[in-house]
Subunit: 168 residues, 2 copies
Amino acid sequence: MLREVPVEEAWRRKYPERTILVVSVNREGRPNIITLGWNMPTSVRPPMVAISIGVSRYSHKLISESGEFVLAFPSEGMENAILFCGTYSGRDVDKFKATGLTPIKAKYVKPPLIGEATVNMECRIASSIRTGDHTIFVGEILTAYVSEDDKPVLFNMGNCVFKGFKCW
Amino acid sequence: MLREVPVEEAWRRKYPERTILVVSVNREGRPNIITLGWNMPTSVRPPMVAISIGVSRYSHKLISESGEFVLAFPSEGMENAILFCGTYSGRDVDKFKATGLTPIKAKYVKPPLIGEATVNMECRIASSIRTGDHTIFVGEILTAYVSEDDKPVLFNMGNCVFKGFKCW
């Protein structure tokens, strides 16, 4: 039997959700990190990814202005960084310093890679579209990296609980 | 240590991936089902969801023409239906008949709900954008349903293996 419910109640069944960290820079090159749950691949050739960011977020402003971002998959041990980068605004705090994550120079874009992440992708905005209270930014993936340490990837299980999976 | 790799190698670390079934109808009202791995919420108010469909797919044509779809989360026991709806084209086969899934009349849109799915959402296209070899369709979620049977939701673990999670 199906029961009609408010949309947010139906979304409670969406977990595990792939959680990503997105790095961007301001005009002075200072990097910021935001935690996002809303992301998906969206093209094979060329490789592209879509991320959805709330219009009021500082990262929304930085990515709109710079047209670039780095997308990273967090690995086990980064639970606190995920929560921190999803809670505080880069307007108020330097998130690389606060989390202790290691910025590594990227090859094609200004935002740095995250040294501890299991996956990093360098992305350049191909297009964007406003969707309600968020904007979808579509990035062409210029190149990608994996970590050699082979740690499980962290996923959001709802209620701020994270679980590591390793499926490769 | 980070190692630069082809983008598809980095994507291998993306699992578990939320897999959905998307129902659409042709001009005669005949329903079709496609299995999709690329989907995400993209607005809270109004509630919206984004799905990415390859431009050559039959469902791409149907949704472009009709402007409506139903999004469903598959539950345990629907493994074969997921594979079938992701393998065959609705140009050639009636997927409701072939899978035995139960179409249930929706409230606001022409495509039917899937009786066996743990979540169903009725969606009307708000916008769309071409992204490489896919199109992102953005749907406003008009209403949603959950099943009472409380079965785990199936996720793609890569290599056509599915696993059920229950996080609510």
